[in-house]
Structures are given as C-alpha cells and as structure tokens.
C-alpha cells in the first residue's frame, strides 16, 4: 500500500476522481497553472485543461456562489478551494443562506452538491489570518456537512464520500498536517462515510475526543500516558457535523472520563457541543468533569514565534491534562 502525506493523498484523489467523473470541476484562486498555494491541485490544470481547473477572480463570495450556480444545474460537481480558511468569511452569507438552505427551502427540488475545501489551522507562522480554525461557525449550520479529515486514508475516503453526496460539504484540511502527516492510502476505491468517527487508540481509563492536528498530538500524548499505565482512548471525530454520537457516547460510557481537545478557541465551539452532548446523554456514566483543552480564547494564532508556540497545543500539554483528569 502506498505511503503518502496528506497533500499527496488529496491531490491523488482529486486526479483520480476527475478522471472518473467528467462532471467534477475545480475552481479557486491560483488552482490553475500554479497548482494551488499548497500544491493541492498541482498538475491538474495541465492534465484537465482550463475548463475543468479554473483560476477565479480573487473573490470568495463569488467562488462559492458560482459553485452553487454550477451545482444547481446538475451538469457539474464543483470542488471549490478557499485559499485559506481565514478567507472563507466573505462567502459566509452564500454558504449559510444559499448552499446550506437550498434543499430545505425547496423541499429537495434544488440541491447543491458542492464541496468547499479550505486549509485551516496554525503552527506555520501564519499569524492571525492564515492560521484560523473556522469549523465552529459551520458546525452550527443545519444543511451542511462539515469534515476535518487528518490522515491520508481519511482524506481520500472522505473526499470520495463527499463527492457521492448531493449536499454541500465543508472540507477542512489542517495545513500543518499537509506534509507532516504520512500514512497508508490504498490504491483501491474506498470511502470513509460521513458522520463516523474513528477510534485511533483504545483505552479504558479516559476518552479523548479530538480532530485535526490536535488529534495527532493526542495520540502521542496517549502513548506517553500508556507508558505511565493509563489507558487513553482517542477518538478522531473526522466529521464535525453531524457528530458521531454513538461512538462518542459508547466510549465515554466505557471510560467515564472525557477530555475534549481541539485547536479552535473554546467558546461556542465543536468542543462545547461534544461536552453538551455528553453532559446530557452520558451524565450517569461520568466519573469526572467534562474537561476541555484548547488554546486560549483569543482571536487566533499570533505570528511571533514564542507566542505561536505558547498558543499551539502539543503532546506535552495534552498529556498534562490527561494526567490531571486521570487522577481525578
């Protein structure tokens, strides 16, 4: 089985799926000859031509809106790239008011099979506006799928799953994982279903619920705790809307303790929702407070190195929180 990193998995899947389905077209800033600022679309313009890999004006509102208009016809399945998740907000109204509500407001007469890809997350000296985690805003919106795959296997499988849906999907890729995370990604056709979390590591003492880069750090921290005799179960949510309630609740019922870890700022976040879910539906099984670990509740990752380091999560910080909760 091929070993590749996240960006390679993404690129390969885009290419394979475009070869298979002529309705797929890619649009975005610099996705053409340049191949994307992170090289997600490298070679695709050359292979598929300017009618299927379209460099757009610098205007996210209309990148998403024209994607909606293309999708509505049924002629095409657009995958649009937002260059950095931080720049998705000009398109917020189009995503919320149009893409997410089209099916509901027309009783499925019109649907928007649109994939919006966006690199998010910090740790790459991107400062306030090239580092943001933006998933909370979208996870609040009925009508959207929101996913954050973080392994090559999942990127492949979830992109394929997204392409099979007739609904809009927000496809968030932690940019720091693009080259950092390597793993197996089978050649053959497979999908990773939406709404299914993965258990990355089993354990009986404590459940960690995470996603993205923080999930990888959580696995490392769990390894440290294992050496200390504490069994930590690490759940990778993968899909942030809809949440995989069964997997979350089953694990918490088993361990009785839960630590929620993500890079997004804490207030009104995906972590809040996971905590609320557990507090309501697994209350009787809890042996300790529903604990959250996130960066501080500040606008986003500061540029300056020492601040960025202090902001970002890492295995040590997570292990510390695990220890405290395990000792509760």
């Amino acid at each position: 089985m091929a070993i590749m990193n996240n960006i390679e998995a993404l690129r390969e899947t885009l290419r394979q799926e475009m070869e298979r389905d002529p309705r797929i077209i890619i649009m975005g800033e610099d996705v053409g000859p340049r191949g994307g600022v992170f090289r997600a679309t490298q070679g695709l313009y050359q292979q598929f031509g300017e009618n299927r890999v379209i460099d757009t004006p610098l205007a996210e509102l209309s990148i998403v809106a024209t994607g909606i208009g293309l999708a509505l016809t049924g002629y095409f399945k657009p995958i649009v790239e937002i260059q950095f998740a931080d720049f998705i907000f000009p398109a917020f109204n189009q995503i919320l008011s149009e893409a997410a509500r089209m099916r509901y407001r027309t009783r499925s007469d019109w649907t928007v099979p649109l994939i919006i890809r966006a690199p998010y997350g910090g740790g790459i000296s991107g400062g306030l506006y090239h580092s943001q985690s933006v998933e909370a805003f979208f996870a609040h919106i009925p009508g959207l799928y929101v996913v954050a795959p973080s392994t090559p296997y999942d990127i492949k499988g979830m992109l394929r799953a997204a392409l099979q849906l007739e609904d809009p999907v927000l496809f968030f890729e932690h940019k720091k994982t693009y080259r950092l995370i390597k793993g197996e990604a089978p050649e053959e056709d497979y999908i990773v279903p939406m709404g299914k979390a993965a258990i990355r590591r089993e354990g009986d003492d404590l459940t960690v619920i995470s996603y993205g880069l923080a999930m990888h750090d959580s696995v490392k921290a769990a390894d440290m705790l294992a050496a200390e005799g504490v069994g930590v179960e690490v759940i990778d949510l993968r899909t942030l809307r809809p949440l995989d309630k069964e997997t979350i609740l089953a694990s918490v019922k088993k361990t009785g303790k839960v630590l929620i870890v993500h890079e997004d700022n804490p207030t009104v976040s995906v972590g809040s929702e996971v905590a609320a879910l557990i507090g309501q539906e697994a209350f009787e099984y809890l042996d300790g407070p529903i604990t959250r670990l996130t960066p501080p509740d500040v606008p986003a990752v500061p540029f300056s190195h020492p601040l960025q380091d202090a902001f970002m999560l890492n295995p040590e910080k997570i292990a510390k929180a695990m220890r405290e909760l395990a000792a509760y």
Partner: protein, 346 residues
C-alpha cells in the same frame, strides 16, 4: 385580430423586434400582465383582511417582466427571479394558484412547501431558481449557472433579476465581474423602481443609471423604459440573442416605479408624496400597453372587460383552491435537511 389587422396598425415599420410580435403574442402578454395585476391586488386584499400575513407586490413592474419572459424559452433557459417577479414567473409557466398557495403557506406551495415567505419563487422543472430573502445573492449564483451552460456547450441563457438598491451589494459586483471575465450567456435585469424600501436612488448610488455599471465589467449596459412593454421586448431580444450567440452578458436597467408600499408591512406615506405616486400611476405599464393595443385595434373595450373578467375568475379559482388546500404537516419541518446518504455501510 387577424394578422392583417395587426399589420394595418403597425405605425412604425422600424425593424424593431417587437414589430414581429403577432397579435396573439401581444394579447397573451397583455393577459399575463392583467392576470398578474389582479392576483397581486387580491393578495393585498387578503392581507388587509388578515387572511395573509405578508404580501410583497410587483404592481407597476409587469411590463419588463412579461416582455423579458417572452424572449426566453421556459424550461430551457435558467431564470433567477426576485420577489417582485410575479408577472415574470406567471409568464414562465407558474400558475396563479402557485402564488396563492405560497401566500397562505400551504403544503402545495411549489416554491417551498410553505417553508419560505410568499413570493420567494422556485420551480425546478421550469428552471426557475429558488430565491432567498437576502438580496442580490442570486446574481453570482446565476453567473455560475451561466458558466455551466457555457462549459457544457449549450446555448441556454441565464436571466437574473434584482432591484436597483440591491446593486449596492458586493454580490452584484462579483456576479457581474464573472459574467464579464467569462463572457457568459447572462442577462441581469435591474428593475429600477427608484426606491429601496424608503431610500431613494440618490442615496443608493451616485450614478444616474445603474446600466452605467456595466462598463466596469466589460459587459453591455442598456437603459430601457421598464413600463413600455414593447421597448422592453426589443432590448431583451437583443440581449438574449447576444447571449445565445456567445457574445456575452448584458445588464438591462428597466426604469419603473413601485406604486405600492414596499410590502404589506410598509407605509410609504412616511417617505414620499402622494403626487409622486399619482404621477406614476398615470404611467402604469398596463395602461400604456392598452393604449398601444387600442391604437392598433387589437384590444377593444369589450375584449378588455372580457380579459379582466377572465383574470378575476382565474384569481377567484386560485384563491379558493389555495384556501381549501391543506397546511403542511408538522413532520415536514424535519424533512429535506439532507439528501439520503448513499449506502456506505458495506
């Protein structure tokens, strides 16, 4: 009303596209305008009687709408309306009862099954796109649809409507920019009724004509008297032909006037004079069209009355049908959030 009669009244053999309209077509257009007007007036009455919570009116806008529709192929071309496009959607094939069902929030409302407010038209079979309330969002969406036709290599045209006030939104700018960059088969009709609710056009923009904005996008801009159905038709024929031939987009500005309050929640006496409204009532597009039809001998007082009676009867029927139609079941609220997921569990 034989074609001879029509030819005899053809005062200007100017080669205008509207000269080619047959009497039957002209009468059909007239009838649609009258039908829309009666339906609209009835909606006001029902609102004032407390039987419909909300109505937003297209009265005064019928000429450009019916003219534009006459130049399109319903079910082939794509149309993104706005909330005043009652006459437009009727001309494209929607029925009076469709509007009435929406007005009352009934299950059978084909636009949204009672989910949306009235006049938020949609009809997938007729390729009438669904509109939301936030204004101007439909413009870049329509550009995307036009791009789809172009990429697919079919000669469909996409038409999108909005009010002049809504051209202040970024969505308008971005949509027209795409139409220019990709030379899209795209027509944007701005129905300039001189107000955005209470805000007069001078506070919305510093240009005299919205059509002047076309130059910013490398597309064609045309100003037309939106109350004169025949010149509207002329302008639209040209725009549609250009679009179909792959020659690019047009921004059509139809100057008109909203003779009613903005909506049933508005009171327009707080911001404009009765004289101004009266002036425009004299320029009613139906009145103007009638003059032409009378002049050409196509319409007579009798026929006019006949058409009005027909229209009122249609509206009566639509109202009755809608009143008797069921409300959506409460379970509907939970439906249509997502499509069925493929069978992924192997």
């Amino acid at each position: 009303m034989a074609s001879a009669a029509r030819n005899s009244t053809k005062t200007k053999p100017s080669g205008r596209p509207s000269d080619q309209l047959t009497d039957a077509q002209l009468l059909k257009m007239y009838k649609t305008m009258v039908l829309s007007r009666k339906l609209d007036e009835r909606s006001w009455v029902m609102n004032r009687q407390g039987r419909a919570p909300f109505h937003i009116s297209g009265i005064g806008h019928e000429a450009i709408q019916v003219a534009a529709a006459e130049t399109l192929r319903p079910g082939y071309d794509w149309f993104y309306p706005y909330y005043r496009d009652l006459a437009f959607v009727l001309a494209m094939g929607m029925k009076p009862v469709d509007h009435m069902l929406g007005l009352l929030g009934k299950a059978g409302d084909p636009s949204s099954g009672g989910i949306q407010m009235p006049s938020h038209f949609s009809n997938a079979k007729l390729r009438i796109g669904s509109i939301s309330s936030p204004v101007a969002t439909q413009v870049p969406i329509a550009a995307g649809t036009a791009l789809a036709s172009k990429l697919k290599g079919v000669d469909e045209v996409t038409v999108v409507c909005l009010g002049e006030g809504s051209t202040s939104q970024g969505d308008f700018h971005e949509g027209l920019n795409w139409a220019g960059v990709h030379k899209l088969p795209f027509i944007c009709i701005v129905q300039n009724n001189q107000y955005a609710i209470s805000v007069p056009v001078e506070k919305e923009m510093a240009v005299k004509n919205v059509a002047d904005r076309a130059a910013a996008y490398g597309i064609k801009g045309v100003v037309v008297d939106g109350n004169d159905v025949l010149v509207c038709y002329d302008v639209m024929v040209e725009a549609v032909e250009r679009a179909r031939r792959g020659e690019g987009a047009t921004l059509v500005e139809a100057k008109t006037y909203r003779v009613t309050p903005h909506s049933s929640d508005d009171d327009d006496r707080t911001y404009r004079s009765r004289e101004e409204v009266e002036y425009w009532k004299q320029r009613d597009p139906i009145l103007l069209f009638e003059n032409v039809l009378f002049e050409r001998g196509i319409l007579t007082e009798d026929l006019k009355r006949e058409i009005e009676d027909w229209a009122i009867a249609e509206v009566d029927k639509a109202e009755e049908e809608a009143v008797n139609a069921p409300y959506p079941d409460v379970s509907e609220m939970y439906e249509h959030l997502y499509g069925p997921a493929p069978n992924w569990e192997e």
